[in-house]
Amino acid sequence: MNFKNTANIGYGLLLLALLAAPFLGAYPIFVMKLMCFALFASAFNLLLGYTGMLSFGHAAFLGGSAYMTGHALKVWAVTPEIGLLLGTLGGGLLGLVVGFFAIRRQGIYSTMITLALAQMLFFVFLQAPFTGGEDGLQGVPRGKLFGLIDLQNDLVMYYVVLAVVVAAFMLIVRTIHSPFGQVLKGIKENEPRAISLGYDTNRFKLLAFVLSAALAGLAGSLKTLVLGFATLSDAHWTASGHVVLMTLVGGLGTLSGPIVGSAVVVLLENKLGEIGSFLASVTGVEWFNTLGESVTMVTGLIFVICVLAFRRGIMGEIIEWLARRRAANAGA
């Protein structure tokens, strides 16, 4: 069985599981949140994994779009699809501005620029009247999709989110396999060579940045629609760190990595308290009971371990293992 088939079967099974999840006892809101983060991480990976640009400003797109969608739904009372569209466009627009400055410098400087600009936007959101400051934007209505389908029902909402996330993910897959995506890969491997081949690499990088930001914005918009609120914490730089971690844990530059990574990270954070009490009961060390409140500490530890010993991430390791096995079989 070749690798592509294995991957397709994997995606098929995942899709089936997601379609059936609400009937298998999964809490729809939680799965919807997971899907939003999976989309967020996939959008981020498009930039880091396939273009080689580390953005530390993606929280601004996630949080910014969440506010825009929330504002549009609540104050302008638009229908949900318009709200999502506005949020996505808004994310892309923010991406255009941040990306324009980020590509003026190379490598690590570019990362610092994205971080600084995102921090600036964070302060803007903190002070702007339409975001509700530290309280966030509360009570955003879900409304009726196309004015017809009532999204108040969690099950209906669930399948709408699933459809949107799958469509967005397919767009990412399509982008990566398109000639445009190949140029991005070329830039990642060797930018000077891409320039010498006649590509205006800055334009490609900016376009990738805008696309990634727009999709991250879509994730933020969906999250607001599902949860009914938009908070400042989504725009904080720690959310950017979060998405880096998800991508790194799952596997940089692999399509499935961000999905797996986001699931692992979100589940871990939700279950950390339980894991802690379990460890405490097994080892008898009282301190483990407080683990649930030490999410940052555990996140930091995973970061350090990943960078030092596990740079390929979960899916990266699996893909590598499959490839090695295939090579061994071919040789035999």
Partner: protein, 294 residues
């Protein structure tokens, strides 16, 4: 006397406060630049090291009764030793990799350090009294100058200028600069570059802790105090460029002053003004004010 509707003493006291903030920017961006020069690592943990310096000062006072002046030496020493361990145990393994892994590793380290202190001290600020010797203020006639703030600016200047002198004018500094240019060649001349790298990181860490001790009586001491600061310092580094030591110092101080003035004339923008300046500099001089990189 009034300038643009603001009294002169008020203006001058904001100027001094701006200089205090600027001193911290200068010391921290200086450390970042020195570390980046030799290690090629952007040390995200710089804010956490700064916090460690401040929190350690608070802990020493409250648990052991060790006073401020002793901590001014002890805290950088302890954090410097911590820096040696970080470099030896963690950073050493990633020098050959892409720059971004250095940033991610030190980010993880930051979250780890902050998480540990947060689980003990929470997020609320702890007060630290100004050392007795520097309590009160001096009336200069045109303004009332708080003694401690003046001391912070003075101490920072001394540290910054000495660092500049050592790096630019002494033999040790020459080794360091040569190591930045071409570490293998320097090694061929019989200089132990790995030790130099370790000590450089330790020195940067000690500088951050020194700034932390200075900051303890000015800011609220809290496990998260370094978090927002480090991002501003990144912007300072982008504005100044990391090629020049004096450039880092001047940019840091200058931005502190500009931020102080913004607090007087347009307080809403005081938290964003440094970032706005960064944007302007990127438009006009993409390589930064003192930048040498392409």
């Amino acid at each position: 006397m009034e300038i643009f509707g603001v009294s002169l003493p008020g203006l001058l006291s904001q100027l001094l406060l701006g200089l205090v903030n600027g001193s911290f920017y200068a010391i921290l961006s200086l450390g970042l630049a020195v570390i980046f020069g030799l290690l090629n690592v952007i040390n995200f943990a710089h804010g956490a090291l700064f916090m460690m310096g401040a929190l350690m000062t608070w802990m020493a006072m409250n648990y052991l009764g060790i006073n401020y002046w002793l901590m001014l030496i002890l805290a950088p020493l302890v954090v410097g030793i911590f820096g040696v361990m970080v470099e030896r145990l963690l950073l050493r393994w990633i020098y050959k990799l892409d720059h971004l892994y250095g940033l991610l590793l030190t980010l993880g380290l930051t979250l780890l350090i902050e998480g540990v202190f947060r689980s003990i001290y929470g997020v609320s600020g702890l007060g630290y009294d100004t050392p007795e010797l520097l309590e009160g203020a001096t009336n200069l006639g045109f303004m009332i100058m708080p003694n401690y703030r003046a001391f912070v600016v003075l101490a920072s200047l001394v540290v910054c200028v000495s660092t500049w002198y050592v790096i630019e004018k002494t033999k040790l500094g020459a080794y360091l600069r040569a190591g930045t240019e071409n570490p293998r060649l320097v090694e061929a001349f019989g200089i132990n570059v790995p030790v130099m790298v370790t000590l450089t990181y330790a020195f940067g860490a000690a500088l951050a802790a020194f700034a932390g001790v200075l900051a303890a009586p000015v800011y609220q001491v809290s496990p998260l105090m370094g978090q927002n600061l480090i991002i501003v310092v990144f912007a300072v580094v982008v504005i100044g460029g990391m090629g020049s030591i004096m450039g880092s110092i001047l940019t840091g101080l200058g931005l502190g002053v500009i931020e102080g003035f913004t607090k007087v004339f347009y307080p809403e923008a005081s938290s964003t003004v440094v970032f706005v300046i960064m944007v302007i500099v990127l438009l006009i001089r993409p390589a930064g004010l003192f930048g040498k990189e392409k």
